[in-house]
């Protein structure tokens, strides 16, 4: 396996955390609110999606995920002041000018010596943050770095996107370890693509995004995910059969299943990552949350391929390999993602409509 681009100090994930709102709404209820039947919901393969509380937003969810990651990092001997990098990706940063990250970092108590910026690149803003944070650590500019993908996605009521636009956050702390066994998962390779593809956009003064129907499929999602994944596999000279788990961005449950099949992955490799069915599409958090779910269950020495997708358009692909350290550390974890998902409380139509209208930007 070609490894020449990776430094001798191995870089990877040293801690991670996830956060979801406490409530979900069923796609049947959404269909009801739209006065439609549940056919579209069925075709998307999504059964429910998370709904943020009146007092939650991208920043509060990012803080929640960051806190869990930070606590796990500190428990494992991490030093908070070694985190000198923070990038947060979202489509729903609360401010157009003033970064979400400075508020998150204040709540977490991170050092004031911090390289920090907010990112936007639709649903790949979180994974791009992850890649940048990994680069800072690999370059030796920061001993540890944090990357967060978080969103409280908005869709116009009545629009098809309403069925899937959800809320959530995932945070990763990255590090560089001499013997790689202190990592939970080592980065083996990463590849990104970007082209100008106007499949989905939102101007600053608009409340809701626009999307161009079926154009968001083949020329957008499928093209970029395929490009990045193939390039990644080529770089490391591996086949889908050599991979243990694959994670593809989840605008719904169907697209990742289709692209996985097209690329030669099996349903079994993909299945653990499909939390979208219950959680919905958490946009910039989606691939990262799905990665979190896989890390929660993957055995030692598992290869995990992750490919996000961001409209506009681009994709980030990563290849990670889990370590034994992940398996031993996991035994101490509380707040696992599956737990958070099963604790979601269903809200009824009236409450859904109330929360939705009060969360409008």
């Amino acid at each position: 396996m070609k490894n020449s681009k990776i430094s001798k100090n191995r870089t990877g994930i040293v801690a991670y955390g996830t956060a979801l709102p406490k409530q979900k709404v069923s796609t049947n209820t959404i269909a009801q609110s739209q006065g439609k039947n549940s056919d579209l919901a069925k075709s998307l393969g999504v059964v429910s999606k998370t709904v943020p509380s009146l007092d939650e937003d991208t920043i509060t969810l990012a803080t929640g995920a960051g806190k869990i990651a930070l606590d796990r990092f500190l428990t494992n001997g991490g030093v908070i002041n070694d985190i000198n990098t923070l990038f947060i990706g979202s489509e729903s940063h609360p401010y157009a000018v003033k970064p979400s990250g400075t508020i998150v970092k204040t709540a977490l108590g991170l050092s004031n010596y911090l390289s920090m910026a907010d990112l936007q690149f639709a649903c790949k803003a979180g994974s791009q943050s992850l890649q940048i944070a990994l680069a800072y650590v690999q370059a030796g500019m920061s001993k540890n770095a944090m990357a967060i993908g978080a969103d409280t996605a908005q869709a116009r009521p009545g629009d098809a996107l309403e069925y899937t636009a959800a809320a959530g956050a995932a945070a990763f702390i990255l590090g560089n370890e001499k013997n790689g066994d202190q990592l939970l998962a080592e980065l083996l390779a990463t590849k990104s693509v970007a082209t100008d593809t106007p499949d989905f956009w939102r101007k600053p003064k608009e409340s809701y995004p626009q999307h161009f129907g079926r154009f968001t499929g083949e020329p957008a999602y499928f093209k970029h995910v395929t490009m990045a994944t193939k390039a990644l596999l080529e770089e490391v000279n591996l086949q889908p059969a050599d991979i243990d788990f694959c994670v593809f961005h989840t605008p719904n449950a169907k697209f990742p299943q289709q692209v996985a099949k097209q690329l030669g992955f099996t349903a079994k490799q993909l299945l653990p990552s499909l939390i979208v069915k219950e959680v919905g599409n958490t946009y910039a958090a989606a691939s990262l949350l799905a990665l979190g779910e896989v890390l929660d269950i993957a055995p030692t020495k598992s290869k995990i391929l992750v490919c996000s997708y961001g409209s506009g358009a681009g994709a980030d692909a990563f290849l990670f390999e889990t370590t034994n350290h992940l398996v031993t550390q996991r035994k101490k974890y509380s707040s696992m993602l599956a737990e958070q998902i099963s604790a979601l409380q269903v809200i009824d139509l009236a409450n859904y409509q109330k929360m939705r209208s009060q969360n409008e930007h």
Partner: protein
């Protein structure tokens, strides 16, 4: 809340974020200051942490009773006007 007052208050966040405690007393508010009208109804709680007591708002949509275990999280504490900054603060939620 004045901007500088708010800015000073957020220095405390990391001290309490994630801390767990028990509800000593609680009131469910149906009438609030004008800043919090959109958040009604919400709980106001007195919580016993390990070494001290703290009084704070409960998160949206949750009800509490004496003895409940809670943890401290970051949430929005008011609905701000479009020209104002967003105000975040510590609230309690069920563990």
């Amino acid at each position: 809340m004045q901007i500088t007052e708010y800015w000073r208050s957020n220095k405390d966040w990391s001290k309490y974020l994630g801390k767990k405690g028990k509800v000593l007393s609680v009131s469910m508010m149906e009438v609030s200051a004008s800043d919090q009208i959109e958040l009604l109804p919400y709980a106001y709680l007195l919580v016993e942490l390990e070494k001290e007591k703290i009084s704070l708002m409960g998160v949206a949509h949750q009800e509490f009773k004496i003895g409940d275990e809670v943890e401290i999280v970051l949430r929005k504490i008011k609905k701000e006007a479009s020209s104002e900054i967003i105000c975040y603060g510590l609230k309690a939620q069920h563990v």
